[in-house]
Symmetry: C2
Subunit: 129 residues, 2 copies
Amino acid sequence: MEHALKEFIKQCDLAIKQEDFDTLMNYYTDDAILVIKPGMIARGKEEIKTAFIKIAKYFNNSLVPTQGEMIILEAGDTALVISQTFLEADKNDSEYSMERRATYVFKKSQQGEWICAIDNSYGTDLVNK
Amino acid sequence: MEHALKEFIKQCDLAIKQEDFDTLMNYYTDDAILVIKPGMIARGKEEIKTAFIKIAKYFNNSLVPTQGEMIILEAGDTALVISQTFLEADKNDSEYSMERRATYVFKKSQQGEWICAIDNSYGTDLVNK
């Protein structure tokens, strides 16, 4: 059986593809953050939803994220996922990389469900090589 | 004032330099994990302490970690730190990189103190480029 987090991230990617941002917001903690781009952060569900709507538009409403190789580092009720993230879209001039090595931090709720606290698709590219 | 996490990581680096692993273990959660090297994980304080003793020996008891550029992504009681990590040691033949872009996950205790849950100095290098 696949790790629950791998299934969960598939659901997130599907919601992004379908632009079902209300469902997507269920997958984030109330004080979650999303790195929109280096130096720009959305904080909380409202800002994150607004950011996803803008991101969808930027990618001509054709964004399809998928994950490649994935490492899940689980420590009790906290997990760090290191993942190859591929972005596909009908857009040839994106100024952002369509192949990333992302870092996602998840927390396990008291009901045993994972939700995303920190969504940083830029991974360690936020600091100098 | 520096971010509390930056100060905290300095204390961790100092404890590693001084090989004060009992103090160092106070800085980890009970179910913390340390990525010793790709594919090898220490889980819990006992395993992490043993790993640090072996790492110190591997580096001829001369290991000095320091941090360069650092990005702190804070979401409520959870934080992901992306950090340039430099390792110095009297050892010229290490098979591991001495310059890394690390990912550290911290949790804030009910007393408001940060402690390390996931210590992965290899960052996104755990998955394919």
